[in-house]
Symmetry: C2
């Protein structure tokens, strides 16, 4: 008997890393859990990145996702922001890979396209559709809504073509 | 009886991550080990970052460093390079923090200053001084030499003021 596949969506950020877990079985999607990881900004960089990694590891252990989906980073106009985001992203991707969770990356446009039907959709449209597609999720804040949208996109574009670590 | 302190220096990079371990006891420095982690470039990004994290974890388990020193990243003129380096750096810092190794960061200028005596020293001067200060290391390639230089800088600027994860 084939069980439903669990997809973990992650929206990496040094200040707030959003995550969301859904189950997918054929055309059906079911909300499992979502949340955010927010290390105290006053902590040293390495400690903040360590908290993101540990928080995500806890999510992986708790919800045992079969696959993960992460948004591709666009290169920011501000190089400092790009560097900070890159570091958060590196912590997230390394944690997924060392936990043997296969990762697929999606461009932000593709995430919006697959949820709202338009690559140029804004955050509120994405949040609205996440709520409609996953009614059990209830009220979801922006960062976790983005993560659930990424998970939905990952579910939509299965099977995973990434290579296992 | 106080034992010598082990300092792990890391020079993060997606293509090549250099590492070097030294022991420090008062003014004395002793080479312990060095090496590089080079994930195959053809692998997906997450898998490469996972290999960097696993490789570094193995170094930590094998050599049990008390502290780590990592070079601060300068923001590159090329945003794409900045993003790639940031991701490698995030994987490295998160791995050190989750392994409870306290991290200190140093500007490249400071590393050169403390090894060669000049912040504008070039790579060959740094490698030359690493060889002089750590004769047991033998022939060391550039990336590992940089990591040993960072470890020497970390040893020079102890005690660590960073916060433990």
């Amino acid at each position: 008997m084939k069980r439903a596949i669990r997809v973990l969506g992650v929206d990496p950020g040094l200040r707030i890393t959003g995550w969301g877990v859904i189950e997918t079985e054929g055309p059906r999607r079911r909300w499992i859990a979502h949340g955010t990881i927010s290390p105290a900004p006053a902590l040293p960089l390495a400690v903040r990145l360590g908290e993101i990694a540990l928080g995500l590891r806890e999510v992986i252990v708790t919800y045992a996702p079969d696959e993960a989906a992460v948004e591709e980073t666009f290169v920011n106009v501000n190089p400092r922001s790009t560097l900070l985001l890159g570091q958060a992203r590196g912590a997230v991707l390394a944690t997924l890979a060392t936990a043997q969770v296969p990762v697929v990356e999606f461009a932000a446009r593709k995430v919006k396209q697959s949820i709202v039907g338009a690559g140029s959709a804004d955050k509120s449209q994405v949040a609205f559709m996440v709520k409609r597609l996953l009614p059990l999720a209830g009220e979801v804040k922006a960062d976790a809504a983005d993560a659930l949208a990424i998970a939905l996109c990952g579910a939509h574009h299965r099977p995973v073509s990434g290579v296992r670590a």
